[in-house]
């Protein structure tokens, strides 16, 4: 077999292997650090996570748009934070943990009912991530433990002071008693 024939054989084998190998999957992956959170009414939480860019294209953070659905609009407000700070997400990389979105608890439903919602991401080229479910539980405000008010504490201290003085006066020897 000549050298050129060997080269042709290697080239043909490479082509055959390239055809047999699976194509690289195009994927945009959003991985939040949390999948559920418990809030009190008025509380806001920032949900952070990572972005895995396997889309075949270099992206910026503001090339990715989040969509939220199926949430209770009377109790939750959700806002995208991803992309407010622009930086690069090169192809075939995983970002550091970055802010994805925020959730504000507008009010509390009766009981600590779980409030799930769905979200997914889509990039400027139309690559869509898998939809995920996030669960929010809004706990009713717990009343603070009974703490004496400052005025009550002052009265208590004054009373204790009076008792101390009276006790000292009783122990003082009366003049002329010899005690």
């Amino acid at each position: 077999m000549t050298v050129s024939a060997i080269k042709r054989f290697i080239f043909a084998s490479a082509l055959l292997l390239a055809g047999l190998l699976p194509a690289q999957a195009i994927e945009l992956r959003v991985t939040p650090a949390l999948s559920s959170v418990t809030l009190t009414p008025g509380e806001r939480v920032i949900v952070a996570g990572t972005i895995t860019n396997l889309t075949g294209t270099d992206l910026l953070t503001n090339d990715i748009f989040l969509s939220f659905s199926a949430y209770a609009p009377d109790y939750l407000q959700i806002d995208q934070l991803l992309g407010l700070d622009e930086f690069a997400l090169p192809d075939r990389t995983i970002s550091d943990e970055i802010a994805l979105f925020s959730i504000i608890a507008l009010g509390a439903p009766a009981g600590a009912t779980p409030l799930p919602f769905e979200f997914f991401a889509i990039d400027i080229n139309g690559v869509v991530s898998t939809a995920q479910t996030f669960v929010v539980v809004i706990a009713a405000d717990t009343p603070p433990a009974d703490v004496p008010e400052p005025a009550m504490a002052l009265l208590f201290l004054m009373g204790a002071g009076c008792l101390y003085i009276r006790t000292r006066q009783r122990r003082r020897p009366m003049p002329g008693t010899g005690n």
């Binding site: 503001n62 969509s67 199926a70 209770a72 609009p73 959700i78 806002d79 995208q80 439903p109 919602f117």
Partner: protein, 250 residues
């Protein structure tokens, strides 16, 4: 109570934008890529970064009907572009509410847009405004012609869509009204020959358009003002916006 029942995949489609005279107009398409129809689909808020929203009015929801499976809904919004930088990116956020099996669910869609450089609009615009003022059970409207002095565009008709039973309780002198009291109201100046004394000339305003309804809350509805071109004596430019109107029954 809300719970995730059926996967809903709704996205913002291509956006049309015009940046002209310190105002950004955005044409918004909302695409339902899922296989379920979203009933009573209404927009509750449209925001663009820190830009001041001009229209739709803040508060009243804008009903877009049922967003069918694989269907598209369209809306428009205006923002002040003062303080924004051409070429910079801003986050457009659209909040909506829809119904599935009679339960209300929230929807929040996002898209970063790049502010285009100021440019002349594709079609010459009518410089006019519709100003609304509401008191319980009454909706009052005023037309303002902001055209330059000497403009040939005089305001000659004003129409508004409604979605609740209404009575027309105000029509300016020299104007007449046509309505079915449930879906539309159309006011027109009565002038059929020059000099069109009842039309609203540049720099002038005209109030006295009033609706009454048993409803006490508002929703946003499309409204249109059309001008009459005095030079060629025919219909002139138009402008559309959203106005608060009596809210439909829930």
């Amino acid at each position: 109570m809300a719970s995730v029942t059926t996967p809903v995949q709704v996205i913002l489609g291509d956006l049309g934008m015009e940046n002209y005279e310190n105002e950004l107009r955005v044409g918004i398409s909302i695409i339902n890529a899922s296989t379920v129809a979203l009933a009573n689909f209404r927009l509750t808020d449209i925001g663009l970064g820190a830009a001041k929203a001009i229209n739709p009015p803040a508060g009243p929801p804008l009903y877009l009907g049922t967003l069918g499976a694989h269907g598209t809904a369209l809306a428009a919004a205006r923002f002040s572009s003062a303080g924004l930088t051409a070429g910079a990116k801003y986050l457009l956020s659209v909040r909506a509410v829809y119904q599935l099996d009679g339960v209300n669910y929230g929807l929040q869609l996002n898209k970063y847009i790049t502010l285009p450089a100021p440019a002349l609009p594709e079609m010459p615009r009518l410089r006019a405004r519709m100003v609304a003022q509401t008191v319980p059970n009454y909706w009052n409207y005023t037309l303002v012609n902001d055209e330059a002095p000497g403009s040939t565009q005089w305001l000659a008709s004003f129409s508004v869509q409604v979605a609740a039973p209404v009575a027309v309780t105000g029509t300016p002198p020299g104007w007449s009204v046509v309505t079915d009291n449930i879906s539309y109201v159309l006011w027109t100046a009565d002038d059929f020959v020059p000099p069109y004394v009842h039309q609203v000339q540049p720099g002038q305003s005209l109030g006295g358009f009033q609706l009454m309804s048993a409803s006490t809350s508002s929703e946003s509805s499309p409204a249109t003002v059309a001008a009459w071109d005095q030079t060629i004596d025919t219909g002139g430019r138009t402008i559309g916006d959203y106005l608060p109107t009596p809210a439909r029954r829930p």
